[in-house]
């Protein structure tokens, strides 16, 4: 990048009251792994300007990827013409202003930026070898690498730049007994992504139980592994955005100051975590990243705000600005009852179900937070503190488990009994907000089971 943000800013600034120009140059590489081998590469090199502007409470967001002066001028003319008829956003109250200090280089790793083909291929090979060595007959997956440079200039006097890198390895291991396992590990730096450990983790449950059994409909204590818990808890971050609250998409609406979780549970939005894929140095209006307690000891403390919504609700920005609505960054869930190890947490469960992964979480009603979700990969019956049998309600030949969980967000948060084991950055293959979470036990969860 060489001053594109400044160039756009200078051309547009006379047209508007508030202006934010954010230019990013990004490189992505996705290596698809199919049947234990790299099979294809999807790569991109893009440069894009995200532009937010407001004049007389008329608000617009736009994008530009042609940086020639004549294109920027054409964009300025288009904006000027549209501002005549775009309707006012009556509850708009401006952008951030001032001089801020930003943490530098927290999300950047030179080794990952410069990683060569040899290092990437060796990493993939070692992950596949580890999964195979642990009993995987087939391994599928994806290695994703993200590299970006970013600069921001705003009419609030903010000028900043940043660089970031990220790497994510997703592996799904298929055992020879129709059990499967998925592991997704992510990092901001090359050396901190343990390829081998990801392979071992994907195959860790393939032989966790010798026998298989059907599960009957009923209420069970569920032990969610981080990937499964992350899929569900990402919904807390989405619901905490004031944009979701105002749109009717939040189970947290109208509950500030009220108990929405067990008193043992706290949930943070933390954009400052060094390894967090959701971390950033500044949000999309240039406010430095920070930590925000969404739920503290069970009580809803704060929604996520940008400067405009914070002024509307007479509070402070949480540094969560997206281009229009506030967005979650990394969600962190902590439970005060924390067992020293995963095994001790399992040992504390008398009659339960271990869920390693889940998908297709769908809401019946966003405001009540009622949802159902479908466990995927492997699930096990826990009896008297031990993982006993693999659940197979769809027959021994199928990799499907054949059970479904129905719950509500608030109910789940209130029935969380304890956590235990390693904190993992849980990120799904379909990229919801990252969630930092340990394996977590939730009591009295309704499970319906297929009759096969």
């Amino acid at each position: 990048m060489s001053g594109e943000a400044r160039k756009i800013f200078n051309i547009l600034k006379s047209e508007v009251d508030d202006l934010v120009v954010n230019v990013s140059e990004g490189y992505t590489t996705f290596v698809k792994i199919y049947e234990g081998r790299s099979e294809s590469v999807t790569g991109s090199r893009d440069m894009i300007a995200s532009i937010f502007l407001a004049k007389d409470k008329k608000v617009m967001a736009t994008y530009l990827n042609d940086f020639r002066e004549r294109s920027i001028e054409a964009k300025a003319k288009e904006i000027s013409s549209m501002l005549h008829y775009v309707e006012k956003k009556e509850d708009y109250y401006g952008i951030a202003s001032g001089k801020f200090k930003y943490a530098k280089g927290r999300n950047f790793d030179r080794k990952l930026w410069d990683a060569d083909a040899g290092r990437i291929n060796d990493g993939i090979d070692s992950a596949i070898a580890a999964a195979s060595g642990n009993g995987a007959a087939k391994v599928h997956g994806m290695l994703s690498i993200y590299k970006a440079k970013e600069e921001i200039i705003t009419s609030g006097g903010i000028e900043a730049e940043d660089k970031s890198t990220a790497i994510k390895l997703s592996l799904r291991a298929f055992g020879d007994r129709s059990l499967t396992g998925q592991a997704i590990r992510a990092s901001r730096s090359l050396n901190r992504l343990d390829f081998r450990k990801t392979g071992e983790e994907a195959s860790a449950f393939l032989n966790a139980a010798r026998e298989e059994s059907r599960l009957e409909d009923g209420e069970y204590e569920i032990l969610y592994m981080p990937l499964a818990a992350g899929e569900l808890i990402a919904g807390v971050g989405d619901s905490a955005s004031i944009g979701s609250v105002e749109s009717g998409f939040s189970f947290l609406a109208g509950k500030k100051g009220k108990l929405v979780a067990s008193k043992q549970v706290s949930v943070l939005d933390d954009a400052t975590i060094e390894e967090g894929l959701g971390s950033y140095s500044f949000d999309e209006e240039g406010v430095p990243s920070r930590k925000t307690a969404i739920i503290e000891n069970g009580v809803l403390k704060s929604y996520l705000h940008n400067t405009s919504t914070a002024r509307k609700y007479k509070t402070k920005t949480t540094g969560s600005a997206g281009l229009l609505d506030p967005q979650p960054s990394n969600i962190v869930l902590k439970h005060k009852k924390s067992y020293a190890s995963f095994d001790k947490l399992v040992a504390s469960i008398d009659r339960g179900v271990l869920i390693t992964n889940t998908w297709y979480t769908r809401f019946k009603n966003y405001q009540t937070g009622e949802f159902s979700t479908v466990p995927r990969d492997s699930a096990f019956i826990i009896k008297r503190g031990s993982i006993e049998k693999a659940i197979k309600n769809m027959g021994k030949e199928s990799i499907g488990i054949g059970i479904r969980i129905s719950d509500s967000m608030e109910g789940m948060l209130k029935r969380m009994r304890a956590e235990g084991g390693e904190t993992v950055q849980a990120v799904g293959w379909d990229d919801p907000s990252p969630v930092f979470i340990k394996p977590i036990a939730v009591e009295k969860v309704r499970i319906t089971a297929a009759s096969w």
Binding site: S38, G43, V86, G248, W359, S372, R376
Partner: protein
Amino acid sequence: MRKGLIDEKKELVDYAIRKATSMGADYAEATFESSRGESYTIKNSVMSGAVIAESQGLRVRFLNGGYIYSLSTNQPDKDSLERLMESNMLLRGEGPTGMEISRERTSAEYKVKYGRYDSRELQNFITRLDRDISKYAPIKSRFVTAGFSIVSRYYMNSEGSVIESTIPYSDGFMTVTVESKGERRQRNIQFGAADGIEYFERAKLDEKALEDAKNMKKVIDNGINTRESFSNVVISSEIAGIAVHESVGHPNEADRVLGREAAQAGTSYVTPENLGMRIGSKEVTICDDPTIKNSYGFYLYDDEGVQARNRTIVENGMQNELLHNRQSAYALKTESNGSARSTAVGFEPIIRMANTYLTPGKADLDELIEEAKNGIYVKNFTEWNIDDTRSFSRYQGNEAYLIENGRIGKPVKNFVLETRTLDFWSAVELKSRDFVLYAGTCGKGEPEQGVPVLMGGPDVLLKFDKRGNAKR
């Protein structure tokens, strides 16, 4: 403007193919894409701001040494392209995959005609829609978003094919939340067509939202909770549509059948070994047709330059045809049937549905209800999901009614149809002649990409036998 820009980039597209071929590619294709979209959102009468998205990009995709490379840049010039290609040749040795190549050369240009596109009119439309539905007091929360976009693509491949297309889209969704007696129910309505904004008027969204809202209030006020299981279930075209998409369309995508999506959007109960299996009763014929005029999933050539056609996925209950792209066609030694789609040139083309439907019958809804005699009628749904193999699905009724003595009776609040795929389709007994398609955005792949689709069919009477698992 689009036409001029595309003309300017044709040479670059040609250069991309020559460059890939010179690097040893067995097959290469390149697409230049130019798009512009505009959308507006209103939340409970407050406008959220206009969003204008404009982009241009180039994708070059090629088969080289048994690997497929799909590389893109939104800085479409020779320098960017060369750097992109040089920096992404990562894989070593002989790769494991291939593509169906040496198809006949094709030349085509198509442009979907549309009536109107006017920014002010688009904005006025959502303001008016929000205002009209706000008049019904039990609606406590409203969210409406709508937009218009137009996508032009210029495609060439090393077989000598050249395809140029322009497709407009008018689309959006709305959510209304109804409250009565302290209880809330929520309805999401998605809409979309490859058409101008006159589509919005034609879709009668205000009438639809108000009708659904009034019925939701009736369900809250007069609905019963039941723990009964029902053998006879009448589903509307909306339920038939989501079931067609989730439990037949997806599992018949050949990449899932082969396991290529196993770490992402899942696997399938259809395998290379059981092709031709029985999926449903003889009443079940399910097609996927991208060529329906002005449909949301419309295209005439796919993203690999293969001509689109209607695909009969299930015929008279038997699995008949998978959806293929060039890669899966190579793996299963067949021909692509034009199912490769990508959200934009920044994504790899993968196997997708377009407009998927259960063919209609000859009865009408009253006959279905009468034939059911006692059971339940499910008119629309809220939450739904399905397992990784597409064998065990669930549709949560938002509006459902008892069927008593051949007539529609009391509303039911808590009906959930949770069933095995093969039981569901084996239970199809009678279909209506009425036939409706619904818009959706289908997600798949990593990074996840959404494409516009339609799904639907007629109203259907399902008669589950004793093994059937139609739960509460």
